[in-house]
């Protein structure tokens, strides 16, 4: 099974993708590999908007029919929005993992994003885990 790994995004080893926006925020979702591994997604417990987090903090849960999987903050900062539009339309994550973002955060230090994985490195790791 091949899954998509867009080159313009950054990735974590825990299967989040991150897109840095020009307004200073970072948009976060789970990767195509992650949605494929989880199967049909039926619920997401979103982080609380306004919460300040450290990189690697558990900020939510993605629940599929099969299993629950934690979502981690890819960067330190503050949660500024969650994607309420996914509520009761969770299958959108399975259909388009990179369109169906989960939350936005304001990173404390944008340069920390340089430490995240690039697409090629993530794809290699995810492939090995598969």
């Amino acid at each position: 099974m091949t899954t998509k790994t867009p080159a313009e995004l950054k990735y974590t080893e825990s299967h989040e993708w991150v897109r840095l926006e020009s307004d200073g925020t970072a948009v976060v979702g789970i990767t195509d590999f992650a949605q494929e591994a989880l199967g049909d997604i039926v619920f997401v417990e979103f982080p609380v908007v306004g919460r300040k987090v450290k990189a690697g903090d558990t900020v939510g849960v993605v629940e599929s029919v099969k299993a629950a999987s934690d979502i981690y903050a890819p960067l330190a900062g503050e949660i500024v929005a969650v994607n309420d539009g996914l509520t009761d339309a969770w299958e959108g994550i399975n259909k388009d993992a990179y369109g169906a973002w989960l939350f936005k955060m304001k990173p404390a230090d944008r340069s920390e994003a340089d430490k995240l994985l690039d697409a090629a490195t993530y794809a290699k790791g995810a492939g090995a885990a598969a």
Binding site: D40, F43, E63, V65, K66, A68, D88
Partner: protein, 377 residues
């Protein structure tokens, strides 16, 4: 376990070709789903789906003493099935009154019986039966029918589609009542299942399995994986061995007291232990009122003390999460409880299960009329 150590069924090549996500299940490499578990689930509730369950073990008991042995080994009374083809669901208990396995027994003919047991417990079951047979039925032969493939065809259209796929089968099986079976040449077809829908479970010689699977697929029966099988059986309120039943728990606390037959003086394994320990807990259905997903082994807080979920998932038919939970016996259907879900305390309601039968919710009367989050379209 390395993949090379996993066993595969005669349908393995078909699953691979269909792009199934294959997982390790009880030492077998089995399809979890072929794309979408939820679509497969709905196919069985609304039309027809099929499952490769060849990992389950078929064991034939042939020769003198089969009925005698089963009368002792099974908690349900094998005496209830006296007509060839009739089936009986039963637990097999240990001396402590825990459950070694749950199984279906078929009366074949000439005193022979066929058991279908769970994959993960098959070796243990056979060893246990042989041990009991050594004293009770020394002339009995146990034959493990690993030559057979098992295909379950389930759903409101399952039987009609099976008849279309196998016209020659029709005379042998169209008159079958639920929980009965018939031979058709070297096939053995029973009107049983694990989904809460009508259908057949077909035991087929391994070399015929691929052709049979293809024939069913051609008439519109959707291949379904073990993922959908689990959500279907959970909605149907059927126990899964290893989760809702185990060696350390009484069947009387597992929702299957109806299968423990104490109506006669029959001496069956575990009977004394059950009599010595009246049940204090009961297996109940839970429907989650809050958003989230229940899973096994979550703590349930009730007005009568704590309990624990034994199985939990999302119910595609109800559009919300459901669970089976072992709760203090005083808790009743209709009661409100809370469940500890990953650090959150969520509201749930105790219901009378099954949750779903023949495509329809059976628990609506327990639920608030207005809240149906994520209800299936």
């Amino acid at each position: 376990m390395a993949n090379s150590a996993l066993r595969t069924t005669p349908l393995h090549g078909v699953h691979r070709a269909a792009g199934a996500r294959l997982v390790d299940f009880a030492g077998w490499k089995m399809p979890l789903h072929y794309g979408s578990q939820i679509e497969e689930h709905h196919a069985v509730r609304r039309a027809a789906g099929m499952f490769d369950v060849s990992h389950m073990r078929v064991v034939d008991l042939v020769g003198e003493g089969a009925r005698l042995l089963l009368a002792h080994a099974l908690a349900n009374d094998i005496g209830k099935i006296a007509t060839p083809g009739r089936a009986l669901y039963s637990c097999m208990l240990n001396e402590r009154g825990g459950v070694v396995d749950d199984l279906i027994a078929y009366f074949l003919d000439d005193g022979a019986f066929r058991l279908v047991v769970n994959a993960g417990t098959a070796d243990k079951d056979v060893a246990w039966l042989r041990q009991l047979a050594a004293t009770r039925a020394p002339r009995l032969t146990l034959i493990e029918r690993t030559d057979l493939a098992l295909v379950a065809v389930q759903g409101p259209e399952a039987r009609a589609k099976a008849w279309t796929a196998f016209p020659g089968l029709v005379p042998a099986v169209e008159g079958l009542r639920p929980f009965s079976a018939a031979f058709f040449r070297d096939w053995f077809v029973s009107r049983t299942g694990y989904t809460g829908e009508d259908g057949y479970e077909m035991m087929i010689p391994g070399p015929h399995a691929q052709a049979a699977w293809s024939a069913l697929e051609r008439v519109g029966v959707k291949p379904c994986g073990l993922g959908a099988r689990d959500t279907l059986r959970l909605e149907a309120g059927m126990n899964l061995y290893g989760q809702d039943l185990d060696e350390d728990t009484s069947p009387l606390e597992s929702g299957v007291a109806w299968t423990v037959d104490t109506s006669s003086e029959r001496d069956f394994v575990g009977r004394a232990a059950l009599a010595a320990r009246p049940p204090e807990r009961a297996l109940r259905g839970l429907v989650l009122l809050d958003a989230g997903v229940l899973r096994a082994h979550q703590t349930v807080k009730t007005a009568h003390g704590d309990g624990e979920t034994t199985s939990g998932s999302f119910s595609p038919t109800l559009g919300r999460s459901i669970a089976l939970a072992r709760l203090p016996a005083a808790v009743s259907p209709g009661d409100d409880v809370t469940v500890e879900v990953r650090g959150r305390t969520l509201a749930a309601r105790v219901v009378r299960h099954p949750f779903v039968r023949h495509g329809r919710s059976r628990v609506d009367s327990f639920l608030p009329p207005t809240s149906t989050p994520g209800a299936a379209p």
